[in-house]
Homo-oligomer: 199 residues x 2
């Protein structure tokens, strides 16, 4: 049993994933993926995180007009290697145990495992509230700035997903179920989704 979760920033997708794994008694993989890549590549977690969360256009340049120096090329090869390692790590995790994986295009990477694919979304007000609720200094986050941040993060997720999978992030057809968490208590929802996944 493999469950993948795509989610808008602030929609509570990570919370839903964690609770779902808990309810089903299966593994939950999130930051563990970065740690595992770092271990396998002998690079720092911080560096790996920075690379896998970067705009993939920068990593797989398709333009020929640009000339690369030797150092550029080496750096790009290392980054591509991290990406390929990520794919390996995710596949190995899914092979090893039933699990929930959040983000990382896992729905695409694990398509041969026939995962149950969830997309979590919410309206902007609700996403802002969720971000403020989990912030340590909510007073220092002006609403307008937060909205801009949420949009920018999701834009990056979409770009990453679309580039990497050739499909469209958030397009219903890529998921088995799409869940609106606006005004919803996620822990109330989880038992029902767990049963749905078990079939």
């Amino acid at each position: 049993m493999v469950i993948t979760i795509g989610r808008e920033f602030g929609s509570g997708g990570r919370e839903l994933g964690r609770l779902l794994a808990e309810t089903l008694g299966i593994e939950y993989y999130d930051k563990e993926i970065i740690a595992e890549i770092a271990k396998n590549t002998e690079l720092s977690e911080q560096y790996v995180k920075q690379v896998v969360e970067k705009n993939p256009h920068e990593l797989f340049p398709i333009t020929v007009a640009h000339t690369f120096s030797y150092i550029d090329t080496q750096e790009i090869q290392q980054k591509q290697m991290i990406f390929m390692e990520q794919e390996k790590v995710i596949k190995k995790m899914a092979e090893t145990s039933d699990c929930v994986i959040v983000g990382r295009c896992a729905d695409y990477i694990l398509q041969d495992f026939k995962p149950f694919r969830i997309f979590v979304y919410a309206d902007m007000d609700s996403k802002v509230e969720r971000c403020l609720a989990r912030s340590e200094n909510p007073d220092e986050l002006p609403r307008k700035k937060l909205i801009k941040q949420i949009k920018s993060i999701d834009k990056n997720r979409a770009r990453y997903y679309n580039y990497y999978t050739g499909k469209t992030w958030g397009d219903m057809l890529n998921y088995d179920i799409c869940i609106n968490t606006t005004n919803v208590n996620i822990s109330d929802l989880v038992p029902h989704i767990a049963k749905m996944v078990k079939g």
Copy 2:
């Protein structure tokens, strides 16, 4: 408890609605809406059906360049009256009993009832298969023609919904949950959705 179902043609939304109402032991309204409008307006069911399923642009003309004859105007007024009657009928049904209502922009018309709003969709292959399975003469339906029909019906549904509600048909944010019925046995799904709705 009011549940509204928007659905792509061929996705099995109507079946899902019927089974959901059965499982929850509540009313299921579909063709009953047309019958009730016909009764209240003393018009034939066939005529009412034809009007409410028509492109609403034709009913609420916004152009001033077009000149209406007296007969045109009378006809338009009668059609508008049917539309208003539909709204009344749907609201009355929701007031009278817990129910599932399929289509008819019921999610919008019943927004004050805080309905649980479902959208049902599937990939094209799956929709074609469902259409063929319920057809009496599947051999007489060339696949290409069927796909064209499915697209045309959904285009009309979208136009109707968008015009009437000012929102976008099939936009996730208009629904609490969106369900992909591709390769899914709808009757397996229904008990879980029923529990989710009950909360």
